[in-house]
């Protein structure tokens, strides 16, 4: 797999502490999920998945309609919708608004979409402080790292790592108890919440018939982000829209269970517009940024389009034998695991990371656990085909094509094949030591050849 970050992968595989952290964290999430979808607890689980898939297909196939409906309902509740094509347009809008309102401090709740556009870095250049408030994201922001996992961003860090980050960045005494570390973060961030001018959240769902943004979380930081500051901005990919509030019965019943095994996450906020006349609190201004950032390119192919159905539960990461070995930071972009392997090449172009669609055994675990039934292996195969086609357009892959043509010819000519096979059998044990095969064989055990070939066995049978 030319181009793969082999050094980084090797380092992850050789780090026993990191291997244990990834393995036990994903293992725990796997068992929590399994416990929450047991047939006696949720007999309709498979039906919900089918429904979730069909609803997403319908919505994405008519995306323009539902985005316009969403927009007009946000406006009807005194909110504003801003369509942004890319990161720069998001930054321009937020910076412009911050300048107009004399804002200095932004609090942020966890959002993969804002990770996608390097939101914090873009604002920092303009003396606008943006603080992550999800505990894991806050630790990563202080440590200048990107998330390791879609729902458990600091999965790779130990309490000792956290202690070091806190002492270095916050100047506090060394504290290694997670409970006390959480208290430290709570105190620092509480002050930020109360002082912030703008709160930026992501969105798990955009509800078209209500003009509402739905945010799901466990800590309460997204509630604070959307309630305490006088301006709330939700930044969401255009694919987050669902038709009706009642469709949440499908998605909320799947999301928490698939992500962490919770029937419902602790806080589900259904937000539509700024505070109303009689409200004592809540934001004065409410904006929804609808971000393209390459998503419209993913719409073109009707089969690969389903990559946009993802509700970011992280179940495919937890169940993936590749993710569980190589972890999150060896993937080229913020989206890791199987979903990252199909999304990243489509956003960046397949030839940016030609190795990525091949970094899978196609075992299918991801598709089996996906709550919206994205056929990830099918999309991986399509991407592999695209990589191979692109390579042959570039005149590459000639040796491989030649080898397969030879193989096909040999297999259809038994007179040649049979003597070659018996010679090959003798060479099999030394084969792994030969050139490029060595790498492949180093991770695998080759089967021992049978003492008697099938041809011989068959011929002997015919005689009797």
């Amino acid at each position: 797999m030319a181009g793969a970050p082999t050094a980084g992968i090797q380092k992850t595989i050789d780090d026993p502490r990191l291997q244990l952290a990834i393995y036990s964290a994903t293992g725990r999430l796997v068992s929590h999920r399994a416990g929450s979808i047991r047939a006696d607890l949720l007999p309709e689980y498979q039906e919900l998945r089918t429904r979730a898939h069909e609803l997403k297909r319908h919505t994405i196939d008519h995306l323009d309609h539902y985005l316009e409906q969403f927009e007009s309902n946000v406006v009807a509740h005194a909110g504003k919708v801003i369509f942004c094509r890319d990161a720069q347009e998001v930054a321009d809008f937020v910076l412009g608004l911050a300048k107009e309102r004399h804002a200095r401090l932004i609090v942020k709740s966890k959002s993969m979409t804002t990770e996608e556009i390097d939101f914090n870095e873009r604002l920092e250049h303009h003396q606008l402080e943006a603080v992550e408030t999800d505990l894991g994201e806050y630790i990563l922001q202080l440590a200048h790292q990107r998330p390791y996992h879609i729902v458990a961003p600091a999965l790779h860090m130990t309490r000792y790592d956290v202690a070091e980050v806190f002492t270095k960045s916050l100047g506090v005494e060394k504290e290694v108890e997670p409970e006390n570390q959480t208290k430290i973060a709570r105190a620092v961030l509480r002050e930020k919440f109360l002082r912030a001018d703008i709160g930026v959240t992501g969105a798990n769902f955009l509800v078209a018939d209500s003009g509402a943004v739905v945010v799901v979380e466990n800590e309460g930081n997204a509630r604070l982000t959307s309630s305490a500051p006088r301006i709330h901005i939700a930044i969401a990919g255009i694919e987050k829209v669902i038709p009706r509030a009642q469709d949440l019965a499908v998605y909320l019943n799947l999301l928490g269970r698939s992500a962490t095994g919770q029937p419902l996450s602790v806080y589900t906020s259904f937000l539509s517009g700024p505070r109303r006349a009689d409200d004592l609190d809540g934001p004065d201004e409410f904006y929804v940024i609808l971000l393209d950032n390459g998503r419209t390119m993913l719409l073109v192919d009707p089969e690969k389009r389903e990559s946009l159905f993802c509700i970011r539960c992280g179940a495919c990461l937890n169940h993936c034998p590749v993710y569980r070995k190589i972890g999150g930071h060896n993937y080229p972009w913020i989206y890791s695991g199987p979903i990252g392997a199909i999304i990243t090449p489509q956003f960046h172009g397949v030839m940016q990371h030609p190795w990525l669609p091949f970094a899978s055994s196609l075992c299918g675990a991801c598709a089996e656990v996906c709550p919206v039934k994205i056929d990830i292996p099918k999309v991986l195969l399509k991407l592999r085909a695209e990589v191979t086609e692109a390579k042959s357009r570039e005149g590459k892959g000639g040796i491989e094509r030649f080898a397969f043509r030879m193989f096909a010819w040999m297999m259809t000519h038994p007179k040649i094949y049979l003597p070659l096979a018996s010679i090959g059998k003798k060479f099999l044990p030394v084969l792994p030591k030969l050139g490029p095969l060595g790498k492949w064989a180093s991770q695998r055990e080759l089967p021992k050849p049978a003492s008697q070939s099938f041809h011989k066995w068959w011929a002997d049978r015919q005689v009797r």
């Binding site: 008519h62 509740h77 466990n218 800590e219």
Partner: protein
């Protein structure tokens, strides 16, 4: 062309659609609401909340609420929403309570410094132990969020079976409120070594006081 038009145009050309083209009707949503009587709903709610380390107290009548909470409330700085049900229960008359706010700044300050926030709920979901609150003149947002302890007091008639039942009753929540929140147990995180810690940003302790008589 604005970004809006550009994005909508690329979507339409990718999907082979034209502006304003109609959309085939969606099948009706399926909502699954099991039948249960009031007593079963209360039992299920209590079990669900306790599973999340929330605490539930069931009392007979509104007059029993304050005595049942006396120990928890003693000597604490309290803030309460303007829910009329709290008035019925005598909560609003507690001496250490701040309530009846109309000024947003004073309200925020009170919530930020209170030990306990007291609210009612608009609905409660039995199967998950969830409080449902719609922001209004009666309920705000910060009193169930800033104090380290949240107590919700409500009659058992507000308990419905599950999320599906709620969405059946409120097909369009945005028509009634700018903010509907579902609160399912204490605030929690497992971001450091997957160790469960309660009370990260929201309340670490959550109580439900369920009144059996309406």
């Amino acid at each position: 062309m604005t970004s809006r038009e550009q994005i909508l145009t690329s979507i339409r050309s990718a999907l082979g659609r034209t502006a304003g083209q109609s959309v085939p009707p969606l099948p009706q949503p399926v909502l699954r609401v099991p039948y249960s009587d009031h007593k079963a709903l209360v039992d299920t709610f209590v079990q669900s909340l306790e599973k999340l380390a929330g605490k539930a107290i069931v009392v007979r009548a509104a007059a029993d609420v304050v005595p049942a909470l006396a120990k928890i409330l003693e000597g604490k700085r309290l803030v309460a929403s303007n829910a009329s049900y709290l008035e019925n229960c005598g909560i609003r008359a507690l001496p250490n309570l701040q309530t009846g706010f109309t000024d947003p700044a004073a309200w925020r300050e009170a919530c930020a410094t209170a030990d306990i926030g007291i609210t009612s709920v608009d609905y409660a979901l039995a199967s998950t132990g969830t409080f449902v609150m719609l922001a209004s003149q009666q309920e705000a947002r910060l009193e169930s969020l800033l104090p380290p302890v949240h107590i919700a007091v409500f009659p058992r008639s507000r308990i419905v079976a599950n999320l599906d039942a709620l969405l059946g009753l409120l097909p369009l929540p945005a028509e009634q409120t700018s903010s509907m929140v579902l609160i399912t147990g204490p605030s929690r995180t497992a971001d450091i070594e997957q160790i469960l810690i309660r009370g990260v940003h929201g309340p670490g302790e959550v109580y439900a006081v369920i009144v059996e008589e309406n």
